[in-house]
């Protein structure tokens, strides 16, 4: 994630003149979660520069992601790594290993941290301490402070990205999901799945092909698998292929001849074969234990 490089300096309300930020093209948004993702990106990239007293057309922030090259990203990651070590050695005892606080305040939700710009707010607290609150001064060099800030910003970005957006977090370890029984999973598989699937055939080594959460979601419902259809015309002529449209007004398939064909729905006979029908039916019946057992079994198919 990108460093927050332009933030409002104050949270109180104000009338403000608008001024310049970078243009960023972004996508059509339909759902709240997508809007939130946009906010994550936008807030980091084009976050409002409309500050009281800021002259209209003030220079946009620097270091936006569009302008970063791989070398810069690598340098930032290296700085965050050095900062991580510094943090663990000096700060974690009070602020927690993952910044969520302990004896000292939670830094993830700290207003000061959220409004920091290149260390201008965090830096003085680190080097000067907060004697009144029991925080000692840390005699870090400017470079060390920068590393610390890089780490803190990376942690903030990680927390903020901790949403359901694929691929983050897609690193749920198999050990966390494999809480069931291999035997129970196998017997469920033999009873319900083996008429279509085989652990030595189509599912051979399946656990090596997908990461754990993807494997679980795919065995529950491998969405994206298209239906097929046979369309019979009034003349008796039959067309078979991948079903593309069947909305009650028109039916369209990609035929076995590779061509697109469509007809008005009334007047033709449509037989749909949904390969996911069996999965859909099972989806309503699985208990949570079934899910864990099947996953635990499939995870053995390395």
């Amino acid at each position: 994630m990108i460093a927050i490089e332009a933030s409002p300096r104050e949270t109180k309300r104000r009338r403000s003149a608008s001024d310049g930020v970078d243009a960023l093209a972004w996508e059509n948004l339909h759902l709240k979660k997508l809007a939130i993702l946009t906010i994550l990106v936008l807030s980091a990239v084009t976050l409002l520069r409309a500050q009281a007293g800021a002259p209209p057309g003030a220079a946009p922030g620097q270091g936006r992601p569009g302008g970063r090259n791989p070398a810069q990203k690598e340098a930032e990651a290296a700085a965050a790594d050095r900062g991580s070590t510094l943090f663990k050695e000096n700060c974690a005892v009070c602020h927690g290993e993952n910044l969520t606080g302990g004896r000292g305040p939670d830094l993830i939700r700290s207003s000061l941290v959220r409004h920091d710009k290149n260390g201008d707010l965090i830096g003085p607290v680190v080097t000067g301490g907060r004697a009144d609150k029991g925080m000692p001064a840390f005699p870090f060099t400017q470079a060390q402070v920068s590393d610390l800030i890089a780490f803190i910003q990376a942690q903030l970005a990680l927390f903020d990205l901790h949403t359901r957006f694929s691929p983050y977090p897609n690193d749920i370890p198999a050990s966390r999901l494999a809480t069931g029984s291999v035997e129970a999973g196998k017997s469920y598989f033999d009873a319900h799945c083996s008429s279509c699937h085989s652990p030595t055939g189509d599912l051979a080594h399946v656990a090596s092909k997908y990461n754990p959460p993807d494997l679980e979601v795919r065995f529950l419902y491998p969405s994206g698998t298209p239906s097929t259809a046979i369309v019979t015309l009034p003349s008796g002529e039959k067309y078979e292929g991948t079903l593309l449209v069947n909305d009650g007004f028109n039916v369209a398939i990609q035929g076995k001849d590779g061509w697109y064909h469509s007809w008005p729905s009334n007047g033709v006979k449509i037989e749909v074969h949904d390969p996911l029908a069996a999965h859909e039916a099972l989806l309503e019946k699985y208990t949570d234990a079934d899910m864990h057992n099947i996953f635990t079994y499939l995870e053995t198919l390395k």
Binding site: L42, T46, Y221, Y286
Partner: protein
Amino acid sequence: MKKLLALFALMFALTFVSAACLPAQELDPSQILKPPTNDWPTFNGDYTGRRYSPLTQINKDNVGSLALAWAFQSHSQGLQSMPLEVDGILYISGGNQIWAVDARTGRQIWHFVRPGFPPGGGNKGVAMWKNHLYMNTFDAQLLCVDAQTGKMLWQVQIADPALKAFGTVAPLVVGNHLIEGTSGDTADLPGFLESINPVDGKIEWRWDSMPKPNDPAWNTWPHDTDVITRGGGMTWLTGTYDPELNLIYWGTGNPHPVENGDTRVGANLYTCSIVALNPDTGKLVWYFQSSPHDTHDWDTVMTPVLFDGTFKGKPRKMLAQANKNGMFFVLDRTNGQALLSEPFVPANWFSGFNKRGEPIPAKDKEPQPDGVLVSGGVGTNWQAPSFDPQTGLFYVNSRETMGVFYLTMPGKNAEGWAGRDFFLGSKSMLKAIDYQTGKTSWEHTANGRGGSSGILTTAGHLLFTADDAQNLVALDPASGKVLWHMYPGGGLGTGPMTYELDNRQYVVFPVDGVVYGFALPEALSASSPNLGQ
């Protein structure tokens, strides 16, 4: 002298008459109190949120002839703005931009782009008060724009974008007040509603989604941590208003941290609630919590729809909502008492109802590190439902889903989003719900998986929406029979709206970056008087 006086009198009279004949392009807030006929002056058309128009020129007998009257190209993708229409002008918004468009022809009058900001992304719509328009932005500012010129007059900061607050909601105008909500789920911040002075943007009152220590609701949070300050309860969709009871009704979002309840044992009021507030003071009059102690992101922001009628033989002032958690609720809107609580899609996340009619969450369906299977989720989303007083049916575009919920940040140190969910095998359908029983009277599907568009009903015995295969459709609201359809080349990002100008009724659909205006062919319009006025 007499002649001169007569001339003056004549001039005076002419001035007066011509002034009276000039169309008032402004929107006097008292106009919103009248049901929409010629105009569509607010997000939901009127205060009730029924999205029911009394217009009848387009009706079930002639809707088959509905044809394109005009199209407006915004050249901006993914519009999800509900247009307003006031005195022949449409006001349509997108992120950081507004268009004023001739409602007869679709021609652009002006295009406002916020100076220095990239236009694009979603915005739910603008509000109009007198000659001003109001729009929220992704950096949580409220903009005031001159409706005549499209020039920005001022902006005020509503919430702190550094804490990931943002705004897409269309404010609600109540008299000389703007009622305003906010959004944001990422970094644990509390929600609120504010009344804002439309002249200068100053706050008149603020109601916080988090209770104060002197409120019994304070006890629905633990106080050995500061979790109550992390909040939730975002107010990100426009509410409704009953002028007689003088109450505004608004839905609140989920609590924080999202999908992890470990650190916030209790019901967590006033998150996932419908709240009734006095619009003059911001004081809470009643609440109904649709998802106590939510751990599934079941925001309750869906429109609280207001209508009067009988319930079990007794006349009632009611409020109905089809909730994201898959439940259909009917409340007595004078006091918040639940009259009916009934799932409208299969739902396994609750174990029953408490005596207030609120669902009791099933403990074993809270997100777990190894995942749980949850049905009922995202039964519907923010796109508007509709209530047709002629049929007594409540219409909602619904989904039947099975979700897998993982707790990815267990424990008490979780922040922001602490879980991850996947929704599998969703079936979409438009449902017509009998408010007396909560049972589905009819349903319509186009075998797609998209169905999440808003709905409009009219006194012409019509229901307009987009089906789950993205066709724009007109259905018979009594039976669900399809009377007209058209594929517009994309998804209906919000819902349809309607208005009438020069005895011609238009139905408007914003689809991706294009706004389509449909009407009867001109010859048919002329011979088909509008009985609705």
